[in-house]
C-alpha cells in the first residue's frame, strides 16, 4: 500500500460532485416506531474530505450513515449526495419515492463497509470483489478479474484471491470488503465502525488501508471509535449523541479544545 500504488483515482472521484458538496444533510429526522433516532441532523462533507462521526453507542451515528445510501428511509429533511436527492424524486413541491432500480443506481456509486464485514460467504475473495462490477455494471469478465486482482493486491491480499471468507482473519475479511466496495469505483465511501469487530492486533492493517484511501483523495464518512484515526486523517469530525450532532468542526478544535460539556465528557472517557 505504501509503495505509491493508489487505491483510487481521486480526480475522477472529485469530478463526480460537479462542484457540489459530496454529502449534504439538512434537518434529517429518522424514527423507528415511536423512538426518534435522528432529530434534525445538519452536516456537509466536501469532495476529497474525510468526515468522522464520533459518539456513544445508540447516538444515531450508524443510522445516519445508513440513511446516506438509503438503506434507511428518512422521515423528514433532505439528504443529498453529489447534489442528488437520495431515494426520492423532487417533482415541484411533491416528493415521489424512487423505484428500487433507481435507488440501486444511486447506491452503486456509494461504497459501504460494515462492522461485521458482510462478505458473501459462498464466494471467494476475488468473486466477492468481481460480483457487482460483473452483475451491476456488466463490464467484461477479463477486465473485472484484472481490476479485482489489482485491488486485492493493493490492500495486501494478492495471495488470497481464491480463498473463501471463512478462511480469512477478520482484518483480511475487512480489507476484502473495502476492495469489494472500491471495485464499483465509488465517489463516496461509508465506513460503519469498520474496526469494532476486529481483534486489537488486526485494527492497524484496516486503518492503514483507510488512511491510504483518504490520502488518495477519496471522500469518506467514517463512524468509528478510533480517536487516533480521527486526529490523523479527518478533515471534519462530529460528535453525535441523542440523535443530534452535539458539536462539529475540524478535529483540532473538537477533539483538543471542545466547547460543549458533552463533548468534553465523551473525549475524557474515550482517551482513558
Amino acid at each position: 500500500m505504501d509503495d505509491g500504488g493508489h487505491l483510487v483515482d481521486a480526480v475522477a472521484a472529485a469530478a463526480a460532485a460537479h462542484g457540489q458538496p459530496m454529502v449534504k444533510a439538512e434537518q434529517v429526522w429518522k424514527s423507528f416506531g415511536k423512538l426518534d433516532v435522528l432529530k434534525g441532523v445538519d452536516f456537509v462533507v466536501q469532495p476529497q474530505q474525510t468526515f468522522v462521526l464520533l459518539g456513544p453507542s445508540g447516538g444515531g451515528k450508524s443510522t445516519l450513515l445508513r440513511c446516506i445510501n438509503h438503506l434507511e428511509k428518512i422521515d423528514a429533511g433532505r439528504l443529498y449526495v453529489a447534489g442528488e436527492l437520495m431515494g426520492y424524486v423532487d417533482r415541484g413541491s411533491v416528493l415521489h419515492e424512487m423505484r428500487a432500480r433507481d435507488v440501486a443506481k444511486q447506491r452503486a456509486s456509494i461504497g459501504m463497509v460494515f462492522q461485521r464485514f458482510n462478505l458473501f460467504p459462498h464466494k471467494t475473495a476475488i468473486e466477492n470483489v468481481m460480483e457487482a462490477p460483473l452483475k451491476v455494471q456488466h463490464i467484461p469478465r477479463k477486465q473485472a478479474e484484472q481490476e479485482a486482482i489489482d485491488l486485492l493486491a493493493r490492500v495486501g491480499l494478492g495471495e488470497k484471491l481464491d480463498t473463501y471468507p471463512a478462511q480469512l482473519s477478520g482484518g483480511q475479511q475487512q480489507r476484502v470488503a473495502i476492495a469489494r466496495a472500491l471495485a464499483m469505483k465509488p465517489k463516496l465511501m461509508l465506513f460503519d465502525e469498520p474496526t469494532s469487530a476486529l481483534d486489537p492486533e488486526l485494527v492497524g492493517e484496516v486503518l492503514d488501508v483507510m488512511k491510504q484511501l483518504a490520502r488518495d483523495g477519496m471522500t469518506m464518512v467514517v463512524v468509528t471509535h478510533e480517536m487516533g484515526f480521527a486526529k490523523e486523517v479527518a478533515d471534519g469530525v462530529a460528535l453525535m449523541d441523542g440523535g443530534v450532532i452535539v458539536e462539529q468542526g475540524p478535529p483540532r478544535e473538537v477533539l483538543e479544545n471542545p466547547k460543549e460539556e458533552r463533548t468534553k465528557l465523551f473525549i475524557s472517557k474515550v482517551l482513558v
Partner: protein
C-alpha cells in the same frame, strides 16, 4: 535451549532435546465386558430373527427372484422414479414461488400463499390424491379463457386428465409438496443474515438480483439437506397412488399381481428391495449436493477453489514466460 544453542547441529529439535522424548505410555485399557456381552446377545437375536424370515416358506424366494427383474416390475420402478422427480420439480418451483410470495410486501400475494399452504398442509395427502382422482365429478370440462366474460380459447374434457393417472399423481403429490417446500425455502431465506442483503444492496444490486445471486444460493445450503429428505420421502409416498389403481407406479403393480396370485409376502419383499435400493442411491446423491452447496462454509479449502488458484498461477507463469521471451 542454552545447551542446544552451543552445539550448532543440535538446535533443530528445540526444547529439552538433551533428555529426549520420554517413553510412550503403554497402559492396559479398561475392559468393557458388559458391552461385549450385550453385543453378543443382540447379534444372536437379530440373526435368529433374520433366519426365521429368510427360511419362512411364505416368503417364497423363488417368486421374489422371479418378479424382481420382470419387465412389469422394472417399468413400475421407472414410473415411480419419474413420478417422484416430476413431483419434486413441481414442488420445488411451486415452493420457491410460494415462499417468495409469502415474504413479499404485497399483502394479497402473501395471503394467497398463506391460504395455499394452510389448505395443502391441513388435509391428508391420501385425501388429496382421491380429490384429484375424482376431479371429473366436480368439473366435467376445463376451459382456458377469461372467467365471467364467456371468452374461451380452448377447452378439454376433464376425463382426459382423470384417465391419465400419471398427471393426476404428479398434480396431487406435486402440489402437496409445494406447500411443504414453500415453508422449507422460507426458512432457508430467513436464515440468511440481513447483512448479506444490505451488503448486496449497498453495491447497487437490485432486490431481485440480490435474491437470486446472494440470498438464494446461501439459503440452498439450509434447504438442500431437507429437500433431499423430502425427495426420499416422496419416493415412498408415491406408493399411496396405488389407491388410484391402474398400475401407475411400482407398488400398485405389485398389488395388482398379488391380487391375482395371492403371493402377498414375496411381492411386498420385491417392492421393499426396490424402494431400499433407490433410497440408498438418493442418499448418496444428497450427500454430494450438500457438499456442493456448502462451499465456503467448510474449514477446508474446497477443491474447486484450489484448482482455480492453480490455473491462475499457471496463467501468471505463462504470461511471465511470454514476456521474458519477448523482452
Amino acid at each position: 535451549m542454552e545447551a542446544s544453542s552451543v552445539s550448532p547441529g543440535g538446535a533443530a529439535a528445540g526444547g529439552p532435546a538433551a533428555a529426549g522424548r520420554p517413553e510412550a505410555i503403554k497402559a492396559i485399557p479398561v475392559r468393557h465386558w458388559g458391552r461385549w456381552i450385550s453385543a453378543v446377545i443382540v447379534v444372536y437375536l437379530l440373526v435368529a430373527l433374520l433366519f426365521s424370515f429368510i427360511k419362512n416358506p411364505v416368503v417364497e424366494w423363488s417368486t421374489v427372484w422371479e418378479y424382481l427383474f420382470k419387465p412389469y416390475t422394472l417399468i413400475g420402478v421407472a414410473r415411480t422414479i419419474e413420478i417422484t422427480f416430476a413431483c419434486m420439480v413441481v414442488g420445488a418451483i411451486g415452493g420457491v414461488a410460494l415462499a417468495v410470495m409469502r415474504l413479499s410486501d404485497n399483502p394479497v400475494l402473501s395471503w394467497i400463499a398463506w391460504g395455499y399452504i394452510w389448505f395443502f398442509r391441513g388435509t391428508p395427502v391420501y385425501v388429496q390424491i382421491l380429490l384429484w382422482g375424482n376431479i371429473g365429478v366436480l368439473w366435467l370440462h376445463f376451459y382456458a379463457g377469461l372467467p365471467f366474460t364467456g371468452l374461451v380459447f380452448a377447452s378439454t374434457s376433464s376425463g382426459h386428465l382423470v384417465n391419465n393417472l400419471f398427471i393426476v399423481g404428479v398434480l396431487a403429490l406435486g402440489l402437496n409438496e409445494a406447500a411443504y417446500a414453500a415453508e422449507l425455502v422460507r426458512a432457508g431465506i430467513i436464515s440468511v443474515e440481513a447483512g448479506q442483503t444490505e451488503a448486496a444492496l449497498s453495491l447497487g444490486m437490485s432486490p431481485a438480483l440480490t435474491t437470486r445471486r446472494i440470498v438464494l444460493p446461501q439459503a440452498m445450503r439450509v434447504i438442500i439437506p431437507t429437500f433431499g429428505n423430502e425427495t426420499i420421502s416422496m419416493l415412498k409416498t408415491t406408493s399411496l397412488l396405488a389407491v388410484l389403481g391402474g398400475g401407475v407406479e411400482l407398488f400398485s403393480r405389485m398389488q395388482q399381481v398379488y391380487a391375482q396370485t395371492l403371493q402377498i409376502m414375496p411381492l411386498l419383499v420385491v417392492a421393499s428391495i426396490w424402494y431400499l435400493f433407490i433410497t440408498s442411491i438418493l442418499t448418496v446423491a444428497q450427500a454430494w449436493l450438500e457438499g456442493y452447496f456448502g462451499k465456503g462454509f467448510g474449514a477446508e479449502e474446497t477443491e474447486a477453489a484450489e484448482k482455480r488458484a492453480e490455473r491462475r498461477a499457471q496463467r501468471a507463469d505463462d504470461k511471465l514466460a511470454k514476456e521474458a521471451r519477448h523482452g
